[in-house]
Point group: C2
Chain length 582, copies 2
């Protein structure tokens, strides 16, 4: 061992002990006759002292040559510090150094290895191994490990078995694009990397595994939007002989357990709302309910009052922004500009101040009386001092726009608190959604999702109205998990493939093994998958998942540290019988 203790371990009780430490030089203060060095490792920082009078001369001289991030080993005596540092656990002591060995020198790092670094995102990604030395990054990786351990131990205690499913599987055209892997041994053929272990976990249920989980990497070759990764981690789960209610209970308990163990937060029974209600109340199927500002629909109140702009619209809907009645004209104009930005795309914004004195002032005061506006206040839940913001237009688009505004206002008002956790279930999702581009139905969740039994009759007549036994777990405005009761009947599964536009041959080629499996005694089963990267980020009080991934890729899918992807040797391509077209 290079050390007797770590740099986070020594306390006042160790005074007079002879110790050996190893670590990185965080900081040097050289007063000529006295040198202090902060020695750092994963566990903390310990102050070293080199004293011209008490430290051997050669050691003292060598200490003067140490630069930032040098790796050293020191031996010495633990002594009490004159001026204690209350900010660190080792702050009561320091090491009077008698021996020093330089284990490795270090070039000047391209950014400072401090909690608040001077390095920008790009340079920190290129030198990610240096970035990881910084507490904010290191702590996030340790936190991720702790969450994973909690998940595994909890599920394992509940009888779930972690089963490793294969990474080299078969490409399926449904859903997002697959990454493919050419097979050398099977010329002209390809494996695909799994977008999820969906079919395998269902086969495990057919195989009687009863309760399965896996923390597993998944892959999607999508054009990367901000904070999406081509490889991401899922907590993948499946259960047999269960109904939707059982899944909600088991995984609500998992989530409660994590919030309790990791964050020390107790949570009540999670609210449940239907997809339809979520859209109506929040304009969003993953509402952030840490704050109110629920939508109030104003169609009945706002039409037919002479304001033509409203009369023509499908939906008129507003929110009450708490305490914002004192917004200036300029502030409100800025909000109007904000909703008109192309990212939001609204035509405008109607506002009504519900003043603290109970009076109203509105951009459409010409058309609406104080009594009218008082009704608006009631519908939106506005109280004196609030600002009512109203949008109008097509139902879908308007809800999405008002939802964006709701989130923006909450952000501005500091209502999205990182240490507050408001989970809820969104249930009763539509089974299918119509895609204008391909002019066919797509599975909203995936093709294995079971319709609600009472809606099956609608499959022939109004497929768009069929609700699924599908559910999302939403936490603080993020979908952290989603799943469904699966189809376990091969007939119904064939019918689903038909509805989704598969020919019999396509369905057979892609999912023949699954439909075949269903012929041999498939049990009722259901499952859920959590986005582990996001779950960890949200539990960590943040929303950028990249920070919680050891070696993330950038928005072009590149690992800038190792410079991948990269061209490969001609020989490799030849062995694979592949040619790159220019």
């Amino acid at each position: 061992m290079y050390r007797s203790h770590t740099c986070g371990e020594l306390r006042i009780s160790h005074v007079n002990s002879e110790v050996t430490l190893a670590g990185w030089v965080q900081k040097t203060r050289d007063k000529g006759f006295m040198i202090w060095i902060d020695l750092r490792d994963r566990y903390g920082i310990t102050q070293l002292i080199f004293d011209e009078e008490r430290t051997p001369k050669d050691v003292f001289e060598k200490a003067k040559t140490l630069g930032r991030e040098f790796v050293i080993q020191v031996s010495g005596t633990v002594i009490e510090r004159e001026s204690r540092n209350k900010n660190i656990p080792t702050g009561d002591i320091e090491i009077l150094v008698s021996g020093l060995k330089v284990l490795n020198s270090a070039a000047l790092p391209p950014f400072t290895i401090e909690d608040n670094t001077d390095g920008g995102e790009d340079i920190r990604m290129k030198y990610r191994y240096l970035d990881i030395r910084r507490n904010p990054v290191k702590d996030k990786l340790i936190f991720r490990h702790q969450v994973a351990m909690q998940v595994r131990n909890y599920l394992s205690q509940q009888g779930f078995i972690e089963v490793e499913t294969p990474y080299l599987i078969k490409s399926t055209p449904e859903g997002a694009r697959d990454f493919v892997v050419p097979s050398r041994m099977n010329e002209g053929q390809f494996y695909a990397l799994p977008q999820s272990p969906q079919t395998f976990k269902q086969l495990l249920m057919v195989g009687g595994m009863d309760r399965y989980f896996q923390i597993v990497k998944c892959f999607r070759d999508e054009d990367l939007r901000t904070d999406r990764q081509p490889e991401f981690t899922q907590i993948d789960c499946e259960m047999t002989f269960v109904e939707q209610e059982d899944i909600l209970q088991v995984f609500e308990n998992l989530t409660k357990h994590l919030l309790k163990e990791i964050k020390g937060v107790d949570t009540d029974r999670f609210p449940r709302i239907s997809y339809a209600e979520a859209m109506q109340k929040y304009g969003n199927d993953k509402p952030d309910i840490r704050f109110g500002m629920e939508f109030g629909e104003l169609n009945d109140l706002a039409k037919g009052k002479g304001f033509n702009v409203f009369d023509a619209q499908e939906l008129i809907v507003g929110i009450a922004v708490p305490g914002a009645a004192e917004y200036t004209r300029k502030q409100i104009d800025a909000l109007i500009d904000w909703v008109k930005r192309p990212q939001i795309g609204a035509n405008g914004l109607v506002w009504a101040k519900y003043n603290a004195d109970g009076s109203f002032k509105s951009s459409v005061g010409k058309f609406y009386s104080e009594e009218d506006l008082a009704q608006w206040a009631e519908a939106t839940g506005a109280k004196p001092g609030d600002l009512i913001l109203v949008m109008a237009g097509d139902t879908g688009k308007t809800r999405t726009q008002l939802s964006a505004l709701r989130m923006e206002m909450a952000e501005r008002l500091g209502l999205r608190k990182a240490d507050e956790f408001a989970p809820l279930w969104v249930v009763d999702f539509p089974l299918l959604e119509w895609d204008e581009e391909t002019e066919r139905y797509h599975a909203m969740h995936h093709p294995f999702t079971s319709p609600k039994p009472e809606d099956i009759a609608l499959l022939d007549t109004e497929p768009g109205k069929v609700r699924a036994n599908a559910y999302d777990l939403v936490l603080n405005g993020n979908e952290i998990g989603g799943g469904s009761v699966r189809i376990h009947d091969s007939g119904l599964q064939s019918r689903m493939f038909e509805l989704l536009g598969f020919t019999r041959e396509q369905a057979e080629a892609q999912f023949g093994f699954l439909m075949n499996a269903f012929r041999y005694g498939a049990p009722p089963h259901a499952g859920i998958a959590f986005g582990f990267d996001r779950l960890v980020a949200i539990l960590g009080g943040q929303e950028i998942i990249r920070d919680f991934i050891a070696f993330p890729k950038n928005n072009a899918g590149r690992d800038v540290m190792i410079n991948a992807p990269a061209p490969i040797d001609k020989e490799q391509l030849e062995e694979l019988k592949l040619e790159v077209r220019s």
Copy 2:
């Protein structure tokens, strides 16, 4: 919930309870007026009874229609069994059924779902989801989960952090062939799937993570020999500020912990032998030491006695097979045929019986006196009643051949006991091995392995003699783990790449990021990786790893269940700018 209890749960104390069970029909016995059904789920088997007099008529009739592997839900009363079955935990009770629901029917399975099935390997792989219903397969998957949990919890308690490293990395020409993944977003470029997270774990050490582990999938596109998988699982570990001794201790303790917790076996301190000694004593760098039969070298004893065949040979070496002196001439001839098989390739076998009465009889008795043979017995450790088997030839080849014979004899004599565990460390591996084909040195472990400091001077003069700080953990004749102290000096690392035939440009292109990382304060570090599939198999008392993998691939790298790999759509190839050459 579809059930109030599992099929493994009910005991005599539950008698008179009303219960609901769900599961698969394992077996039906229909006596006309009485039907018994064994209902199976992951947790066990419960006997159901349908009685013409006590069961509702419609339920009784429906029970008659149930086939093997039908999925059913039953409700009824727990009653005491007349003839108890001591072989199963639920054998004291049965369920008098009052309600029956068929949840799914089942086609006749292509093989019997019994512990001893009539299905061959191929059909069971094609219908792996049915194979998993069988206890021997299901239990192995659960066992694997339990081992993984033990590993994770133990290492976590020892301060190791599980960090997920990326799967989409960069191809390196060193070592085995990579699987590659074409990048759509970066035309003409490829990711590679990791053969191991080697460089990433070293970067984590440079990043100060101190103690890292990961249970992780790795990929090698090798021509598959028996029981190799293109994707396999590793327990990957790395530590900072440690020497070889620290690694051996930490992972010896992990292995002891597993043997204790999983198998209930206490083990002493693991023996350690050098690579040179392992080769000399066992002809093998992963010796099975559950039994003796150590090699005895006979050069000094067997040369110059008039037996010309021996005089010309580099090595004459024998083993004493316990209790085999009574082998017949026919049995010995069969052994001689066995070693002459092309897989072994020996020219022949000299034998000497050390009879129970103390006399000797030998195939070369003409040349060697009883006194000579008594010396052979001493050198090989033979006792009266043993059979001495001797081979001769080039050192390397002969050792390998005699090692194969040693293992074969142990197998025949039943000395390789599945419930006995004999771990040992093999240390001091050569750093390099000469490859005749490419006429250059290859890294015996990998290019990041540190030479022993005392051997560094030999790098220039006799590279083949340089020993590495590398070690293997061997259990029952299988390498279950291997690792090394790493080079942490960029100068020494460059020199290694040079020795391995890399040009400066190649080394820079492939490992530039690692050598660059070493410039910024790389700490001394070392690590180890366990082959998790094999470890689990050996702990499970078996050697076929495929049985411990949920969805293994066959020897052609195919998943015959999902039929992968497979051709992909033309559109996919076009998006990737790839062409398959015919």
